[in-house]
């Protein structure tokens, strides 16, 4: 048991899975000697050598494309895309191949691989370093999209992702890399993919969030409990796709009111599927329109304006109060 931040927790998952399974290898830009620009792969190069922790040339499509080939052969690559904003360079390899090979070969081959990418705001970097692209991957059949919300579940979910027989796109919320420390057990711990968690129980309103927005949702929930005597249920999706509709719908059947929070732009974003699924599954329980508190439909932000763009507890609170008052 040690108190770790998310970077160290992810590093622990990688270390233990690599010790456990010689087929697990790491590939990406600067993941070796440098330990990754966020240090998630720190020290692994020293421990496992440059054949197993590969500092690749600067080419995302080839990082994913060669990893697909390695996976077809039976290795289990964990690829790092340095920032999610640069993953569109390999989008064709992910959609055309990683997501399809099991089906194309009718089970003869499959791609047991993890594609890690830091996403979201919070580090005041330049363009392409602060976006949230999970929606683009969530719409691709064959993929599993995972987003942790804290050090402990980050470690447990990465372990599951590495062991998952199909490709997992693992988004890491930059804003939480160093934000908080948690007790993380030394012995390996895994969380099931495809399952959301109820992060806070409540009967008045359901707040649905993931990644860095869970913190924001919790904060709003505290204020509502304190000031409005309203008890919010906070759902932490953890897996975006396949979406855990069961948990989401069960909560809304109870509360009848929903606010969805995400960092991605609103239109045609992840909140839309969550809302549509709720309407399909809990129509008669709905007592108010489903609100979405999201980033605006804008690509370029610039960190001078980032806080006006990414949802914060204040905006969630306002939406929650309107929903409760509806």
């Amino acid at each position: 048991m040690a108190k770790l931040n998310m970077v160290k927790a992810l590093n622990l998952a990688l270390l233990q899975e690599m010790e456990r399974d010689g087929d697990v290898i790491i590939i990406g830009e600067d993941v070796g000697v440098d330990g990754g620009v966020f240090r998630v792969t720190e020290d692994l190069h020293r421990k496992f050598g440059s054949k197993r922790v590969i500092d690749s040339p600067l080419a995302e499509a080839a990082i994913i494309g060669t990893s697909v080939g390695m996976a077809l052969y039976g290795l289990k690559p964990v690829c790092e895309v340095q920032f999610s904003g640069f993953a569109f360079q390999c989008f064709h390899q992910i959609e055309n191949h990683a997501a399809r090979y099991r089906q194309r070969s009718q089970g003869r081959f499959h791609c047991q691989m993890v594609i890690r990418m830091p996403y979201g705001g919070g580090v005041r970097a330049l363009e392409h370093h602060t976006e949230s692209e999970e929606q683009f991957y969530a719409h691709i059949p064959g993929l599993t999209i995972v987003i942790p919300s804290g050090p402990r579940n980050a470690r447990a979910l990465l372990v599951s992702a590495i062991r998952n027989p199909d490709p997992v796109v693992f988004f890491e919320p930059k804003a939480l890399y160093h934000a908080a420390k948690e007790e993380v057990p030394d012995e390996v711990e895994a969380l099931p993919l495809g399952r959301a968690q109820v992060a806070r129980e409540g009967r008045d309103l359901t707040l649905i969030a993931y990644g860095a927005m869970v913190r924001v949702a919790r904060e709003a929930a505290e204020v509502l409990a304190r000031e409005d005597h309203a008890e919010c249920e906070v759902i932490d999706l953890l897996t975006i796709s396949p979406l855990d509709r069961e948990t989401v719908v069960a909560s809304v059947r109870k509360t009848g009111r929903v606010v969805i929070i995400h960092e991605a732009p609103r239109s045609f974003g992840p909140g839309a599927e969550i809302a549509a699924s709720i309407v399909e599954g809990a129509f008669l329980s709905l007592e108010a329109p489903i609100r979405r508190v999201t980033a605006w439909d804008v690509s370029l932000v610039g960190f001078a304006r980032e806080r006006a763009h990414v949802p914060d507890a204040g905006r969630v609170l306002a939406a929650a109060r309107e929903t409760l008052a509806y």
Binding site: I25, K51, R52, S56, P57, A59, A61, A62, I64, G65, T66, S67, V68, G69, M70, A71, L72, Y73, G74, L75, H92, Q93, N96, H97, R102, Q103, R104, S105, Q106, G107, R108, F109, H110, P141, G142, T144, P165, D166, G194, P242, L243, R245, E246
Partner: protein, 380 residues
Amino acid sequence: MPRKPLEPRFSVEYLSILDADGNLDTALEPAIPPDRLQELYRAMVLGRRLDERMVRLQRQGRIGTFAPIKGQEASQLGSAFALRRTDWMVPSFRETAAMVWRGWPIDKLLLFFSGYMEGGQPAPDQHDLPVTIPVATQLPHAVGLAYAAQYRGDDVVVMTFFGDGATSEGDFHEALNFAGVWHVPIVFVCQNNQWAISVPLKKQTHSRTLAQKALAYGLPGIQVDGNDVLAVYAASQEAVARARAGDGPTLIECVTYRLGMHTTADDPTKYRSEEEVKEWERKDPLTRFAEYLKKRNLWREDLEAQVDEEITAAIQRFEAVGPADPLRLFDHVYAELPPHLAGQREDLAAWLRRGPGRNPEPEPPSPPMRGQRQTTRWQS
């Protein structure tokens, strides 16, 4: 200090052994046992005859669109011939002859070209990837396979195929660059058939040869007469041996020609001249190799008949396959069917149970791609 060319200069070789007029360079003639020569020729004839049959089947609507290989038998078989069964082959979409040589059942390939996903499943013991349609995207997979084999210490060489047009894609560049840096056991075989659909090589790249693109990655590149199966084999054999010895990747450019259409949906008369085609028919890879075998008394009279029988039998097996079960759409999307897909599968099953009674009958879909005839086996 001043201005000087870097030494040594960069060089790319050209190889030809048996030319269009049957002249043989005995000094370079590869030592292939007679029976192997006959196997090779048989594979070429099978490839040619199957191709012709498939065009007819497509015209009759009995299979869907596919990419004919006529004219490219030597470049894809002379190369694949240099592989062991334990080596890996990574095709594009125009290696039907090589795929059959590698052990793909003909009836399975026909299923594939009839829109049956089942046709894309390699046998458990087969070291072959299925057809890849997005141009050049299979090249990094081949490099990854080679890396994995090297990582595991397996005695494996990977050979991957692609066309002249494919060399323009970013994936080609990234794959060769990674292969160079990783020094993996791989052979890149470019079937330069002069055309990318309607785009001629001179509009595809300003480089004199495709082989010279190897220089960008510090790799050996060689250009061979792709209609000369002996030259293709010699170059491939050398490249495979180099890879097996741990001496890294090679790029082989096979200068050949697509005698037929790009796919059965294509009309080549729109973009190229009869003369050009005639010119290349003169260089047919089968003719000169047949002459060579005759001179060596390795020619077999009954070969064509025998090969046709094999093809006919396969077509019969293919046409005996029943309609496609729609519910198999949901197989193999994930290792385990997730809840939402299980639900969709149940919806489809329920829908199908309602049977023909469902109202209205789905209208027949719109006409197929230009040139392509409708196939009769497309609907469950």
